[in-house]
């Protein structure tokens, strides 16, 4: 009986229903709301670990597949399944949600039940994005999860939240519409919305290119890639801490996931045709945004820009393979790029999440995100300073932390394509540590700068727990990333084998 557990459905609907339950509990029973939300998120997390422990890492086939006809007239099915790409992202989602629930424990003063509910519902929908194998189902989750996010920024956000929400909406909506059109075109060709069928569909080059551009608009906004990135700093600055964490840790990953699940396998020839363009955009993100991050005055903006720069490694790793394969004829370097990009997504989830939580910890106390309002925090919050040091180093890509693994592998593989690509990418070594550690120096080190800092209380046990969990994740994946790679390796190898063959009719 247990073996037939509809695990993926549970991962999607348990938090959604849990969220609705929390909503009904209402704001008067604050403690019930908190523990209920925590319970739901922890149960979901524990369930999600089953996708890892029961995962068969010897195959690239979809696992835990569920299939139920949904709208039979249009061939739309409720079709779920996961492979080595989805499993890590689902676990990242459920893990982060636990942290976000804990982080909102005391800092949310209004409409607590709605806040918690929004995150739980969003968790389910995000799991849906990573598990959907039907294009329309995917699209449904993709769009639906934006609603709680808009609400989170719109209701619990900062003073310019309306501007930020609209900008966020405009960007993502523009992108998504084109993706929908692409799906409909693909349906007209394949007569199926099954993503795995679309992978096998042969398409002419011109059509592939158009589809690629449509997908690119949707995914590039999410990642976000330069130059469609300007929504992110605004959204982060206005979002409450939990919103920023989910935004950085999970939502950006949907763009990367989209490239792996749709762009590369469905239109491989167009991907090959556009690879230099994507690589160029990625390098601009890494270098240009690295410089921009350096001069930010607002900590959240700085981390937001840092996210864009680090996500450049994801797209770089995903698209570097074509030219390696063209020059060396071997798939090894290309697969390393894909895996490095994937690792970077997971690691960035932990590190950016952790840094936003750190800013949140300080914001809760001082109510400012400006670097100049701080200085000498280590004097009053030594434990917190130690945690943030570790995350700052992880963000600088220090070996031994998860931040190193993906960047290292992507730089190694991009060297195989071109010395200069690796050269540009490696500038993150200097720029990344410069903006991160310079901020750290100004905020944490030094003598006590003002009365606010003098009166700071060090982190309490709840905050320590949140940050300690992230420390474990960052160090575990830094010192021993092998398990993650083991589960994604067959999928990535198969993916590259698939995309290295032409699908042109």
């Amino acid at each position: 009986m247990f073996t037939e557990l509809p695990l993926l459905s549970l991962l999607i609907w348990a938090p959604v229903l849990g969220g609705i339950w929390v909503l009904y509990a209402g704001d008067r029973q604050e403690l019930t709301v908190k523990y209920l939300a925590l319970g739901v998120s922890m149960v979901t997390f524990l369930l999600s670990t089953l996708t890892y422990t029961r995962f068969d890492a010897s195959t690239y086939d979809m696992q835990f597949v569920e299939f139920t006809p949904w709208i039979e007239a249009f061939g739309i099915n409720y079709h779920l399944g996961v492979d080595g790409i989805s499993v890590p992202l689902i676990i990242l989602t459920t893990f982060t949600t636990v942290l976000v629930v804990l982080a909102g424990w005391e800092s949310i003063e209004k409409r607590l039940s709605q806040y918690m509910a929004a995150f739980l519902i969003m968790e389910g929908l995000m799991n849906g994005v990573f598990a959907a194998l039907d294009a329309i189902l995917f699209y449904f989750f993709w769009e639906a999860m934006l609603i709680p996010m808009f609400l989170i920024i719109g209701i619990w956000g900062g003073p310019r939240r309306v501007y930020a929400t609209i900008k966020f909406f405009l960007y993502t909506f523009m992108g998504s519409v084109f993706m929908l059109v692409a799906f409909l075109y693909l349906y007209s060709q394949a007569n199926s919305f099954n993503i795995l069928d679309l992978h096998e569909l042969r398409i002419g080059l011109t059509a592939q290119k158009l589809i690629f551009i449509a997908f690119l608009l949707a995914f590039a906004v999410k990642v976000p890639m330069w130059p469609v990135h300007t929504w992110l700093p605004d959204a982060h600055v206005e979002a409450p801490t939990g919103g920023s964490v989910i935004l950085a840790a999970i939502m950006l990953k949907m763009g990367g996931y989209g490239f792996l699940r749709f762009s590369l396998p469905i239109v491989p020839d167009a991907s090959r045709a556009f690879d230099e363009f994507i690589i160029a955009l990625s390098l601009i993100a890494i270098v240009y945004i690295g410089f921009v991050a350096l001069v930010q005055q607002d900590m959240k903006k700085l981390i937001a820009y840092s996210s864009i720069s680090h996500m450049g490694f994801v797209t770089l790793g995903f698209f570097i393979g074509f030219s390696i394969y063209a020059t060396t004829g071997a798939a090894g370097g290309a697969v390393m790029g894909l895996e490095g990009g994937m690792m970077q997504m997971i690691s960035h989830g932990f590190i950016s999440g952790a840094l936003f939580l750190c800013v949140g910890v300080m914001y809760d106390r001082v109510h400012s995100r400006e670097i100049k309002d701080y200085g000498g925090v280590v004097n009053t919050m030594p434990v917190f300073a130690a945690f943030m040091m570790l995350f700052a180093m992880a963000n600088s890509g220090l070996p031994g932390t998860s931040g190193f693994v993906g960047e290292f592998l992507v730089i190694l593989s991009s060297y195989q394509a071109s010395f200069w690509i690796a050269f540009m990418a490696a500038t993150i070594l200097v720029l990344g540590s410069a903006y991160t550690l310079w901020m750290y120096k100004r905020v944490i080190f030094g003598d006590i700068a003002n009365e606010n800092v003098a009166g700071l209380q060090d982190i309490d046990s709840r905050e320590t727990l949140i940050l300690a969990l992230l420390v474990i994740a960052v160090l575990l994946f830094g010192l021993w990333p092998a398990p993650l790679f083991e589960i994604m390796h067959p999928t990535m190898e198969n993916l590259f084998e698939h995309i290295s063959q032409s699908k042109v009719i």
């Binding site: 007239a73 249009f74 699209y139 934006l146 609603i147 808009f150 609400l151 209701i155 309306v162 609209i166 909406f169 405009l170 909506f173 929908l180 409909l184 349906y187 007209s188 130059p227 300007t230 240009y288 410089f291 921009v292 001069v295 930010q296 798939a331 090894g332 370097g333 290309a334 697969v335 390393m336 895996e339 000498g376 040091m389 220090l398 070996p399 031994g400 190193f404 693994v405 592998l409 730089i411 190694l412 593989s413 060297y415 010395f419 490696a426 070594l429 200097v430 720029l431 540590s433 550690l437 120096k441 080190f445 030094g446 010192l479 021993w480 990333p481 092998a482 790679f485 083991e486 390796h489």
Partner: protein, 659 residues
């Protein structure tokens, strides 16, 4: 024996790590005494086992150990391992690192005893010992890079240890970033190795090196470069950062902001020699690129000479020693460039002892004078601090290469080796290091005389409380003084001329300058006697004499000379303008670029013109904003999704009918 040794090697790295974690996380619980005991025992175990391993490999002729401990990751078709290569080169480094580190742990009890960050300090230095051991024991480039960055991290933490001081936290950031510039090159070198060798394992890479020696690659269109040259120069750029070679030397003098035990351990004896060790380890690659060797020769020679000169004008006692370190690192680099890798490691070993000794002696003076570091406020201390005086004298003599001391053998071997080398640039390097002998003697004894002899220039309050430092300080000083004196005589024969390193270091026959020097080697007495036929010894004597003349006999003289040579003096005081240049061009420049890209690129062009600017967007935008502002966010959001679903249904329906 192999299985047993694997455990020994694991203990060597893990015991300092355990000490560090316990002292760091549970410092409050175990208290100050607990923290220092835990750290000292951890590093002590490591040191004793390292010495045992040294005995096993070097004296008993034990097996070289080369195996993986665990697989870090398998990606693409490459397996990245964490593992150890224990041969004579690594075991020598392990012995030096753990021994010096242990002495410095003990010394720290005295030096830091009233510091509030006592436990944190012990945690950091134990962590450093762990990282440095990981670096030298590695059997692959990945772990080398891990150790490389980890020692950089600890160095950063320790330079900024007194985090309230603006100068300290500035110096720590500077050190980290300058090192990162070096690591940038280092990482590209590693990437090149992986691409062409398809592995990061030393043994495999080295065995394939001869086959790939003729390979050329194109980086700039139309220029074919030797693969080995590219790899070697990229890796050496990393070494230039870590071992502070011009122009990436700027961080080391500022690193003196850290507590003195750290200056001794990290910024003199061990971490800064990581670059030297790395090049020696990579000798099977460097031997295939004469271009890289010449490059190294010239960088080393410039560093040795120019940094030695700067040591002449410093008044801060620690900064003099810091510039001396830079200059000595230059010597080691020159030796590497001349393919005399064994001589570089030999000088690294002797330098580790006498430079740690000098720093600790300086630290002893600094605590007794209540954290006064300005030599203009010292003088005549020999009466009050005899042990410090004697050990500092031994350190200074070793540092100038006084015949018989450890530094004499190692430095003279380098100068001889460079003299013999025929590589392009060797002649320049020879004259640079030769003239640097005079400079070394002059700044070393300037420091010695200003501190311990001549007029007593400290204030009355301090003067009344002058005394010798406590035993936790003088014992490590004395223990370090012994190897500073004798280790050179003991090691020179085996290490340089009798194939000590075996297969750990590879030298091509046509580059083997040490073999040529060794033909004239007939024992240490012969070597010493031979030295008196060559200029270095006399230059050293002349330097000491000049120092006596300037700082004891005619103390007004230096001021007059400085006045007479004002432009030169000013140039030295301003450190050739390197710091100012970096501050304006690099620090200022990057911020300038950042501001331009942000304000013009992001704010004006992308947001201003495209996102907010297009008329259509604005009209639509303002409509939506009005909606939202009137409080219909919920409605709006749900309208959106429902609208999309309807849109979808219509589209699909049409297609369905059409198809």
């Amino acid at each position: 024996m192999m299985e047993n040794m694997e455990n020994v090697y694991l203990w060597i790295v893990l015991s300092p790590l355990a000490g560090s974690i316990i002292a760091g996380l549970f410092g409050k619980v175990i208290g100050r005494r607990g923290a220092h005991w835990v750290a000292i025992i951890g590093v002590g175990i490591s040191c004793i086992l390292s010495l045992l391993a040294y005995k096993y490999i070097v004296f008993d002729g034990g097996d070289i150990y080369n195996a993986a401990v665990y697989t870090w990751v398998v990606s693409g078709n490459v397996s990245f391992e964490i593992g150890f290569l224990i041969d004579k080169l690594s075991v020598t480094m392990m012995a030096v690192v753990s021994f010096v580190s242990w002495m410095i742990h003990i010394y720290t009890i005295g030096y830091m005893h009233d510091d509030p960050g006592y436990q944190r300090f012990f945690s950091y230095i134990s962590l450093f010992t762990f990282s440095m051991l990981m670096l030298v024991m590695s059997n692959n480039f990945l772990q080398l890079f891990f150790g490389w960055e980890a020692v950089g991290l600890v160095s950063y933490l320790l330079i900024g240890f007194w985090f309230k001081r603006e100068s300290a936290i500035f110096a720590s950031l500077k050190a980290f970033l300058v090192n990162r510039v070096g690591d940038f090159g280092f990482l590209l070198g590693i990437a090149a190795v992986l691409m062409y060798f398809n592995t990061l394992d030393y043994a495999t890479v080295f065995s394939q090196a001869p086959e790939l020696a003729g390979t050329t690659i194109t980086i700039f269109e139309g220029h074919a470069w030797s693969l080995m040259t590219v790899i070697c120069i990229c890796l050496f750029i990393g070494a230039m950062g870590k071992s502070a070679q011009v122009p990436l030397h700027v961080w080391l003098p500022d690193s003196m902001e850290g507590p003195t035990p750290i200056s001794a351990l990290i910024h003199a004896a061990t971490m800064v020699t990581a670059g030297i060790f790395m090049v020696a380890r990579m000798s099977p690659l460097y031997e295939f690129s004469e271009t890289a060797l010449s490059f190294i020769l010239i960088i080393g020679a410039v560093t040795a000479f120019s940094m030695g000169l700067l040591g002449l004008v410093q008044n801060d006692i620690k900064r003099v020693i810091a510039y001396s370190t830079l200059s000595q690192l230059g010597y080691m680099t020159v030796a590497l460039g001349a393919s005399a890798y064994a001589a570089a490691i030999f000088h690294l070993v002797t330098h580790a002892f006498f430079k740690a000794l000098l720093f600790l002696a300086a630290g002893s003076v600094i605590i007794v004078l209540h954290h006064e570091q300005d030599m203009r406020k010292m003088g005549g201390l020999y009466k009050y601090m005899p042990i410090t005086w004697l050990t500092c004298l031994i350190g200074s003599l070793a540092s100038i290469g006084f015949p018989g001391t450890s530094g004499f053998f190692s430095k003279d071997a380098i100068i001889e080796a460079v003299h013999t080398s025929t590589l392009p640039g060797a002649e320049f390097a020879y004259y640079a290091v030769l003239s640097c002998v005079l400079i070394t003697a002059l700044y070393s004894f300037r420091l010695f005389f200003l501190t311990f002899h001549g007029e007593e220039r400290m204030d009355k309050e301090t003067w009344q409380h002058l005394h010798e430092a406590p035993a936790v300080v003088t014992v490590p000083l004395s223990v370090l003084a012994i190897p500073s004196l004798i280790i050179g005589a003991w090691l020179i024969g085996p290490m340089l001329f009798q194939g000590y390193f075996g297969d750990a270091i590879y030298v091509a026959d046509k580059h083997d300058v040490l073999a040529e020097v060794g033909q004239d080697y007939h024992g240490i007495l012969g070597f010493t006697a031979h030295a008196f036929k060559h200029p270095p010894v006399y230059l050293a004597f002349a330097g000491v004499f000049l120092a006596w003349l300037f700082y004891i006999r005619f103390p007004q003289l230096p001021g007059r000379i400085a006045n007479a040579l004002k432009p030169l003096y000013q140039m030295l005081v301003h450190k050739y303008g390197c710091d100012a240049f970096n501050q304006v061009v690099f620090a200022g420049g990057t911020r300038g670029i950042g501001r331009i890209l942000w304000q013009i690129g992001d704010v004006r062009v992308i947001d201003g013109l495209i996102v907010n600017g297009s008329a259509l967007t604005v009209r639509w935008f303002s409509g939506v904003v009005r909606q939202v502002q009137s409080g219909y966010l919920y409605h709006y959001a749900f309208t959106m999704i429902i609208g999309l679903l309807i849109l979808l249904a219509v589209f699909v329906h049409k297609i369905f009918q059409g198809g």
